[in-house]
Amino acid sequence: MRAIPLGKPSVIAIAAISVIGVLSFLWPFVAPADSFLVVNSSETPLLFALIIPLLLVTVISQISDGGLDAKAIALLGALAAVISVLRPLGAGLGGIEPIWVILILAGRAMGPGFGFLLGSISLLASALFTGGVGPWLPFQMLAAAWVGLGAGLLPKASGKRELMILSAYAAVACVAFGFIMNLWFWPFSLNLPEQIAFTPGASAGENLLAWIRFNLATSLGFDLPRAALTVILIAVIGSPILQLLRRASRKAAFDAPTVFIETQRIS
């Protein structure tokens, strides 16, 4: 079931912005010491915070040109609202947000294109609703879009096997999301204690170690419980949620053919 069809240009566009996105996250490990990004490493995150949203809207506009009908928009809006309501709930639990269940299962039920858009739109909507707009937003949108996209690309399966695959994916996705969300601003805090700081010019290995320590010190305490919560929720209510989503997509009749049968006009 594909609620939002992705044409070849859209696929290429998503691939291109993903590569730029990966670079925007991973440059501290690959860029040589004398490259522009490293030399200006405390401004680089802001540079990417400008580039990513502009390219992201170009890509979204390309996808929506290919066919974003009222049904897809309304479903996106409804699910983004559900996610926006769940996010503040998560803030009370110390950032352990239950939103990933919805994003992953919706990506699974409605296809990769829908997952990609839902990831970015839902984080934007919830940021607007709760007042959480800032330089972190473009990175969150892109990373969540990947999570949704990936869920849509998981291999075919059904029943228990499907839930197993989804749980495994959810665990990986939740931890990975936390880790890369640490990455975008990591070089920005220049005066961190040496052992957990980005050191311009140090080897990729050293920086990677420093970054892993930084993660252990900061977000792992949130990332693991979040992953655990998501896996538990998928195990407990994954199957009914998937059924509800599939029922909605059946009712929206994304795939149902519209046929006009010609008849002889009786005059």
């Binding site: 046929v259 006009f260 049968i261």
Partner: protein, 536 residues
């Protein structure tokens, strides 16, 4: 204006046809009323007018529908937006924005209308529908009638020539329904708009319509109201009365019926209405003494006293905001009274734990689907058995008795509104609560389903339940209730046998009573009974 030429439609290639070879024409400027039982294809018919069927739903479409010469074969619904305005059954679900003014402008924004023109039209519609005061209000704070008028206004700003409405008043109380119908009436008369509307509450709309479209099993008959009502199985009480009395031409409005009534009055002069047997000496179920409740500093209940006995069916009436819902909620422990005592079956509902509550008092909400959680009817019934602590299968057996045609695997939300109401009733009744509360049980139900529900409720009362229902449906009250309690401003202003309470007040009088006042006849059945005695 609207022309159907040999239109047939089925959702799947092999599936049963929903519409069969329809041919008809609705002239410009007419208000056409679409009638049909649940499942007769009304929804599909309405959606075929602007092309939602088949473009939105998918499916196999034969023939041609054209509106003002534009065919739905080549035009998507969005391309007909400036010609056909479509108002869905639940206006809240159709709202795109959250403020009244933005919602009114939304269609025009989509059509790319110039900002100065938009501004002018919004002002016009605000005046036309009496919404000026509400222009800056968030939509979810409006009452049902106001929301329905905003929904109508929001499609009117595109200046369509045709307005299609799916049950615009079935969820409204009489006052709000009157507002909406008066607005529609004005549109037809002042602007010459063609209106097609489907409606269950015929007693409200019959007098306004110019023609009737009667949909039965996918085929359609159209004609003038008095002609079609001769034989239609779906008809308001005044029509049944007219047919019984053999009036010709058949009167459609109360006013015409009153004029035709004198011979009937003479026939009935020596009879008195047969009254439903009121149980005596049955155990007391509910004792309410001096109950007060307030939201902040707004008093909603002020010293309510009420006793209810087993076997009674009590109707709780009164305008919106009179405190009906609050009283029901206080009885079931959802709200905590500020003063007074309540005993239900000997205990105070506020002291009961959730799992014990169900065995003392059951409450069926206005939107029955709020009670549903499971993914299928069977699962829903199973979880109800464990909630109620009764042997497995009890709820399912109960449902089979009330609604035999419901299938196990269906998703509860995919049931028709009547079936949803019966399922909700089963879930609650399974625990056999001595007191059964219902909030607007007939909202959105058609006549056959209402009749069915009435029989079920009477059966439950005879089995010893005491039933208290908040309702605006005077015809239901006339048929079913043994007692009527009227609330006003948080107090009980009338409390007595149905016959005397509802005939005393023009506001709550059923159609039969309006025709035959000041005599105290309230149902067609009473008159039929009296006439059969007269003939004998």
């Amino acid at each position: 204006m609207i022309i159907f030429e040999s239109v047939s439609f089925r959702y799947t290639e092999q599936g049963p046809p929903v519409l069969r070879d329809l041919n008809l024409e609705i002239p410009a400027g007419e208000l056409a009323l679409l009638l049909g039982a649940t499942g007769s294809g009304k929804t599909t018919f309405l959606r075929a007018i602007n092309g939602l069927v088949p473009h939105f739903t998918g499916g196999y479409f034969t023939g041609r529908v054209s509106v003002d010469g534009r065919s739905t074969r080549v035009n998507q619904p969005r391309e007909l937006a400036d010609l056909v305005g479509f108002v869905p059954q639940d206006p809240v679900s159709g709202f795109v924005t959250d403020l009244v003014e933005d919602e009114l402008a939304y269609s025009m924004e989509c059509l790319g209308i110039d900002p100065p023109v938009m501004r002018r039209r919004v002002e016009e519609i605000l005046d036309l529908l009496g919404l000026t005061e509400l222009r800056n209000r968030p939509l979810h704070t409006l009452s049902g009638g106001q929301q329905q008028r905003v929904a109508i206004g929001s499609v009117l700003t595109a200046q369509p020539q045709v307005l299609v409405l799916d049950e615009p008043t079935s969820a409204l109380d009489p006052g709000a329904a009157e507002e909406v119908l008066a607005a529609l009436h004005r549109l037809v008369h002042d602007l010459g708009i063609t209106v097609v509307l489907a409606e269950h509450r015929l007693e409200r709309v019959m007098q306004y319509c110019d023609s009737i479209l009667l949909l039965e099993d996918g085929s359609i008959r159209s004609g003038s109201p008095s002609e079609l009502m001769q034989t239609s199985s779906i008809a308001p009480p005044v029509i049944h009365l007219g047919r019984l009395a053999g009036w010709d031409p058949l009167p459609i409005s109360i006013r015409d019926a009153r004029r035709a009534a004198p011979p009937l009055r003479a026939l009935l002069a020596n009879h008195s209405p047969r009254i439903q047997a009121v149980p005596t000496h049955s155990p007391r179920i509910v004792e309410i003494k001096k109950v007060h409740f307030s939201y902040g500093d707004k008093a909603v209940l002020r010293g309510v006293d009420l006793d209810l006995d087993a076997g009674e069916i009590t109707a709780l009436m009164g305008r919106n905001g009179a405190g009906k819902s609050t009283l029901l909620r206080t009885l079931v422990g959802l709200k905590t009274r500020s003063k007074g005592t309540i005993h239900v079956n000997g205990v105070d509902p506020n002291t009961l734990a959730a799992k014990d509550l169900l065995r003392h008092v059951g409450f069926v909400p206005q939107e029955p689907h709020d009670l549903f959680e499971a993914l299928s009817v069977a699962a829903e019934c199973k979880s109800s058995d464990s909630d109620a602590g009764c042997p497995p299968g009890t709820t399912r057996a109960l449902l089979a008795l009330m609604a035999p045609d419901v299938e196990d695997g269906t998703h509860p939300r995919d049931l028709s509104e009547g079936q949803q109401m019966l399922l909700a009733l089963c879930l609650i009744v399974a625990a056999k609560p001595p007191l059964l509360l219902l909030d607007e049980p007939t909202r959105g139900l058609d006549y056959p389903t209402k009749k069915k529900l009435g029989e079920v409720l009477r059966g439950l009362a005879n089995a010893g339940h005491s039933i208290l229902m908040a309702t605006h449906d005077v015809e239901l009250v006339a048929e079913l209730a043994t007692r009527v309690v009227i609330m006003g401003d948080g107090e009980i202003v009338a409390n007595g046998p149905t016959q005397s309470v509802i005939t005393d007040s023009p506001m709550f009088a059923p159609q039969v009573s309006k025709v035959l006042a000041p005599e105290r006849w309230i149902t067609v059945e009473q008159i039929a009974h009296a006439l059969s005695q007269e003939l004998a």
